[in-house]
Symmetry: C2
Subunit: 458 residues, 2 copies
Amino acid sequence: MSDAHSELSALMGPRYSRSAADRDAHAQSETHVSAGPPEGVAWPETTEEVAAILRICHAHRLPVVGWGAGTSLEGHALALHGGISVDFTRMTRIVELRPEDMLVRVQPGITREDLNRELRATGLFFPVDPGANATLGGMAATRASGTTAVRYGTMRQAVLGLEAVLADGTVIRTGSAAPKSSAGYDLTALLVGSEGTLALITELTLRLHGQPEAVSAAVCGFADMAGAVDCVIETIQSGIPMARIEFLDTTAVAACNAHAGQDLPAMPHLMVEFHGSAAGVAEQAQRFGEIAASQGSAGFRWAEKTEDRNALWKMRHNAYPACLASRPGATAIVTDVCVPISRLAEAVEDTRADIAASGLPGPILGHVGDGNFHAILLIDPASAGERATAKALAARMAERALRLGGTITGEHGIGMGKLDYMPAEHGPAWAVMGAVKRALDPLNLMNPGKLVPPHDPV
Amino acid sequence: MSDAHSELSALMGPRYSRSAADRDAHAQSETHVSAGPPEGVAWPETTEEVAAILRICHAHRLPVVGWGAGTSLEGHALALHGGISVDFTRMTRIVELRPEDMLVRVQPGITREDLNRELRATGLFFPVDPGANATLGGMAATRASGTTAVRYGTMRQAVLGLEAVLADGTVIRTGSAAPKSSAGYDLTALLVGSEGTLALITELTLRLHGQPEAVSAAVCGFADMAGAVDCVIETIQSGIPMARIEFLDTTAVAACNAHAGQDLPAMPHLMVEFHGSAAGVAEQAQRFGEIAASQGSAGFRWAEKTEDRNALWKMRHNAYPACLASRPGATAIVTDVCVPISRLAEAVEDTRADIAASGLPGPILGHVGDGNFHAILLIDPASAGERATAKALAARMAERALRLGGTITGEHGIGMGKLDYMPAEHGPAWAVMGAVKRALDPLNLMNPGKLVPPHDPV
Ligand SMILES: Cc1cc2nc3c(=O)[nH]c(=O)nc-3n(C[C@H](O)[C@H](O)[C@H](O)COP(=O)(O)OP(=O)(O)OC[C@H]3O[C@@H](n4cnc5c(N)ncnc54)[C@H](O)[C@@H]3O)c2cc1C
Ligand SMILES: Cc1cc2nc3c(=O)[nH]c(=O)nc-3n(C[C@H](O)[C@H](O)[C@H](O)COP(=O)(O)OP(=O)(O)OC[C@H]3O[C@@H](n4cnc5c(N)ncnc54)[C@H](O)[C@@H]3O)c2cc1C
């Protein structure tokens, strides 16, 4: 393998590193999933460099794992079978901004916060907002979503086209700048969610949205969890075009209060936001208020000013560290199921009861407007027993989601952590994913060991 | 091959036919594209029958071509390399209606009109409405759209999951009833738009929408085409949530007047519809009215009553036969390009000038809110010269769309008719489509000769 590394060094100069520090930094994971460090880390700046890197790795049969912000939760970006990490944090340019077409072309390493900062003056914004400040390449690769998916969709809807480099270094473009197309297989959709197992994404064409004329946001407590969840179900079914509708159970509320210095009452809460014209927002808020009242809401706390609204959503985006901090020293097993909206109450309540019976702390929160929620199972990393308990809880959540017609992951993806559940969700369709993988990456060099059925090792 | 046919007869009884009448009925195409008849026609009623048919065809290396309503425009459903036609018109059941999740599971042979008739009492509707009364299976296979795609999306957004049968008879399920998922490759999106080249679709899970509280529709003439098109661009850019915004040029208006007994003035027109609350609709209509006025609109004709609205959209859906009837005896080459909204004016105007210079009649109309439009090039089927002229016009439209950052087909798909343009649109990505095809259908039995690069004949 030394040949590959010296070729990579010759190509990249100081932007290829084999130092222990750089390699270890790319063996970090947000969660309990772990693997050894990659053999080296490359920081390309252009598509051509990515293609050249892949040609070298292809010639030397060296695995390649993309790295965005490293915030994925199932060990997606870890170099399970060795090889190199391709870190996109030097590819952060906005390539082309086309406000008149409400789209932007970006390099994959730009983060969602930086992108929105750049867009601020245009009156447009990019809606997908995972809790972490992830990169757009990583978000596309995991088919991420966030608090606004209920209105604006996930990365599935947000990505209009891609530039990507295949295992052998071939550069392809998918999609176009037109709003729709029927010109053949939807390779854009195939790459979105493929977790770097088919290609490295080197550019994304993203759909933008107009900043709403009026915005209004609120938190709203409920006497019990059933009331909050039923309020979500009724709101979605009534067709109110919610921009955001998030759930926090009492435990999550306590963690957020402590972490963000807030004083929400100790009860389950919904956090909501309305977008539209001033009249439209008022109408939506009124209709939502009626539904909430009928479900036993304890009244609203409105965030009128922009700062208040920002503080509210910052608290939501920081819910994960807040939960972690609620049990000092803990590590988390973050679950992520998604069910049809009509089964949401059952799914959340059974999960709550199951966690309570286990004795583990496990706040529940999520993008419930999509039927998507997480339990953050907080375990003592030194306790094998707690780990086993948490894994069993997570497995039961996945089974329950499937039994209710849902999915084992609403937004986090498969990585290494959820491979075992794939047969139950997909049956023979999982082998079809494997066939697609082999067709595009016959040598199994692209992020091997993730997403598809295990096949020939590299 | 006689073995395969007798096995199919044994399996299907009278629902497998080799009569000349049945075979010829499955060699019909709406347009100029043609091929010989299939060797036989099967009418399955269940997924198990479709799987059994495919197992027989697989064992005997017999090509299989799905048939919905046969309304596709590029020869998609023709048996170019022989084999059998699998006609889905006996698989028209609603398998499960889940109003509380706003979704429905259907067999692929149900038509969009029948589906909406069945849904009427639920307060929900299915939005995708190609001009023809196509089947949902055919619509998914071509990634169809229609007049409401600007608001509700195309089949890409409408299909939440599929059941499908692979070339070897394996039955797979893709997607789930949850609103989103990150569980691996998006096989749903891969099959939507695959034109029967990867699998036969035996069931679809479709997203429904609530019937809007208020609806209002209008036609609106413009002094010139530039004004109408600029009005569309400005409307879309201003973020008014149009439910429909359709364009008809003066020639198309004349054809529709004659066919539908209407009396629209001889000028380019937009047909628009607004959905929302009563107040919301009024607000949208007012904002749109201001933009239209600033672009030289000649005023609105409102369709207040449901019957008037239905008559309006019936006229629009019948625009294709109306155009055909405007040149008796003519056949049509129907083009279908889609461009970024900012380039729409240029694309339409250059197309108009090009058609005018050719001397052929060629009304222009389309789903312009998506940047999508068609020229219906009307030719004398006996004139090789006219055919060549029309084909050259169509080729220039495709090139122009690509030059402007768009696509060679917004909604009709590739079939046989647009294969030649695929390299220009996709470059090396076309070979990736071929690799996916070979992975799922190594014997090239599923609708061979369509969409992907030609490979080993069956
Ligand atoms: C506090 C917290 C909150 C979170 N909240 C959410 C949430 O609300 N919604 C949500 O969806 N997720 C959430 N996540 C998970 C995580 O943020 C997402 O999975 C995100 O999309 C990962 O992006 P990243 O840039 O960190 O990618 P990484 O973790 O670096 O990589 C993720 C995967 O993408 C691949 N990859 C990265 N870049 C490329 C590229 N250019 N081309 C091809 N493959 C590439 C990697 O190989 C890996 O397989 C959260 C995580 C944390 C820590
Ligand atoms: C007057 C007119 C107006 C039109 N307007 C529009 C429009 O506005 N928008 C638009 O998008 N299109 C339009 N079209 C084109 C056409 O209606 C669409 O392409 C439609 O989706 C075809 O559906 P179908 O049921 O007729 O399919 P068919 O023509 O029977 O088949 C189309 C393709 O799908 C495959 N197929 C059919 N069923 C299945 C199945 N169950 N599984 C797998 N593959 C299958 C076939 O093999 C073929 O490749 C129009 C056509 C006409 C004649």
